[in-house]
C-alpha cells in the first residue's frame, strides 16, 4: 500500500529529520513506529499524509507517487486516511460533534448520514456525554479521544495515529487499542507512533524503530526495546 524509496527529509532550517528511509507497508498491517523524541516519527507520518514533501526520494501510495500530486489529488488522498494528530488540531470554534462531522462533510456525505454517524462514533471512544462541548472545555484525554473519533468516522482505508494515547490513562488506552485492533481486523491498515512501551510489548505487531532519522530496526511482532 505504501512504499518509501530512499526518502530523506531535511527541513528548511537544515534540520535532517529523516535520512534515506526505504520501507514498504502492506494493506491490512498494524504497525508501530517507535523511537526517542525527535527521531522523525511524526515527520515520516507527515510524508504519508502529504503534509510535508520529501527533500529526496519517493513516497508511493497505492502505486501512485504522491510527491507529484496536484492540490485536488492531495485532498482526495487525505479523505481516504484517518489521521490522529499528535497536537490534536481540533477546530476551536466548532463543537465536538461539528469537529467530527467535518471529516464526513468534506467527503460530501449527506446530512442524514452525518447525523447518524456522529453520536455512534463518539460513543465508541466513550465521549457520548461531551457531544455539544467546545474542545477548549474538554480535558486533555477527552480531546485526544475526539481526535480519534474524527479519524475513524469515515471508515478510512488507512488510519495513521501519532501518539494517540499520550494523554490517556492506561485503562482508556487499553480501550482505544482494542478499538484499533477491531478496526484493523476489518481490513484497515493502521500505523501508530507511540512511546507506550507496554502497549507495544503486549500487542506483538510489526515495530519500526527510528533513531536520528534512520530506520534502526524493523521486526514483525517486535517489542519496544528499552535502552535502560
Amino acid at each position: 500500500m505504501i512504499q518509501f524509496y530512499n526518502v530523506s527529509k531535511i527541513y528548511k532550517n537544515k534540520v535532517p529529520a529523516l535520512l534515506d528511509v526505504t520501507l514498504r507497508i502492506k494493506k491490512g498491517e498494524f504497525l508501530f513506529l517507535v523511537g526517542p523524541s525527535g527521531a522523525g516519527k511524526s515527520t515520516l507520518i507527515k510524508l504519508i499524509y502529504r503534509e510535508e514533501v520529501p527533500s529526496r526520494g519517493q513516497v508511493m501510495f497505492n502505486g501512485k507517487n504522491i510527491t507529484r500530486f496536484s492540490s485536488g489529488e492531495v485532498s482526495r488522498l487525505r479523505r481516504k486516511i484517518g489521521m490522529v494528530f499528535q497536537d490534536f488540531r481540533l477546530l476551536p470554534n466548532k463543537t465536538v460533534a461539528e469537529n467530527i462531522a467535518f471529516a464526513l462533510e468534506v467527503t460530501g456525505a449527506s446530512r442524514e448520514n452525518i447525523r447518524q454517524a456522529v453520536p455512534l462514533t463518539l460513543a465508541k471512544v466513550g465521549l457520548a456525554k461531551k457531544i455539544d462541548q467546545y474542545p477548549a472545555k474538554l480535558s486533555g484525554g477527552e480531546q485526544q479521544r475526539v481526535v480519534i473519533a474524527r479519524a475513524i468516522i469515515n471508515n478510512p482505508v488507512l488510519i495513521i495515529a501519532d501518539e494517540p494515547t499520550g494523554n490517556l490513562d492506561p485503562d482508556t488506552s487499553g480501550e482505544i487499542m482494542k478499538l484499533f485492533q477491531n478496526i484493523n481486523r476489518s481490513g484497515t491498515t493502521i500505523i501508530m507512533s507511540t512511546h507506550a512501551w507496554d502497549i507495544v510489548d503486549r500487542m506483538k505487531h510489526r515495530v519500526i524503530r527510528l533513531k536520528n532519522g534512520k530506520v534502526e530496526g524493523d521486526e514483525d511482532s517486535g517489542v519496544y526495546n528499552l535502552a535502560t
Binding site: 492540490s71 485532498s75 487525505r78 471529516a103 462533510e105 460530501g108
Partner: protein, 302 residues
Amino acid sequence: MKIAGCTTLLLNTMFYACREAAISMVRNFWMNIVVVFVIIVSLVILGGAILVVLNADYFASSLESDVEISVFLKPDLDQNTVLEIGERIKDTPGLLEVEYISKERALEQMKASFGERAGILKNLEQNPLPDAYRIKVKDVNQIAALAQSFEKFPGVDKVRYGQGLLEQLLLVTYWVRLLSMALVIALGLAAVFLIAATIRMSVLTRQNEIGIMKLMGATNWYIRVPFFIEGVMLGLIGAITAVAVVSWGYMELLQRLEVAVPFINLVPETAVLTSVLVVLLGLGVLIGATGSLISIHRFLRV
C-alpha cells in the same frame, strides 16, 4: 446516479459555504462592523463625489446655456442690411438660437435691469444703444472662434461675449470634474484594498482553522467559497447602508436648501438618486468580490 451524487455534493457544499460565511460574519461581528463602516465611508464619499460632479455639471450647463454672443451692428444701417446680416449669422453652423434685439428693446431691457435706479435713464435725449443680435451657441468651446468670424461680417461694429468669466468658469468645472474623478478612482481602489486587507485579516485569524480543514481533505474551493461570500456580503451590506445614507442626506440637503437658500439650484433627487443607487450597489458588490478574490488568490494558496 453519479450526476445526482454530484448535485447533492454541490448542494451540500453550497449549504456549508453559506453557513460558514454566516458563522464567520457573526463570529467576527466587531471586525465586520469595522469593515462595513469603512466600505460605507468609502461609498458615501464616492456617492457624495458623484453628486458633486453631477451638480457641478448641472450648474455648469445652466451657466453655459446662459452664455451668448452679442453682435452689435454699426449705427444707421437700413432695415434690409440688418436682416441680411441676420440671415448670414443664421447660416453659420453650430448656433442654437439667434435673436434680434433692436436698440429700443435694448433700452427697455436696460431700464428693467436698472430697477429703482431707472430714473437715471429717464432724461436721455436719444437712445445711445446699437441694434444687436444675441446668439446662443451649441458648443461653448467654439464660442471664441464663432465670435471672431462674426466680427469680420460687414456692418458689424463689435462682437462681445463673456470672455474672461466664461473661460474661468470652464476652468473651474474642468477642475471640479478632474478632482472628483481622481477622488472617485482613489477611493474605489482604497475600498478594494481595504476589503482585500480585511478578508486577508479574516483569513489570517482563521489560518489555523484553514490549515486543519485542508488536512482533513477539504479542497481549495471548499475553503475559498465562504470567504468569497463573506466579502461580497460585506460589500453589499456596506453599499446598501451607503445608499441609504447618501439618499437620506441628499434629500435632507435638498429640502433644507430649498427653504434656506432658494437661489441654489441642485439636480432634483429622483433622477440622480436612482443612478447613484445603482452605481453604489454595483460598486459595493464589485469591491467585495474583487477584494476577497485578491486575498483568496494571494493568501489561500495550497
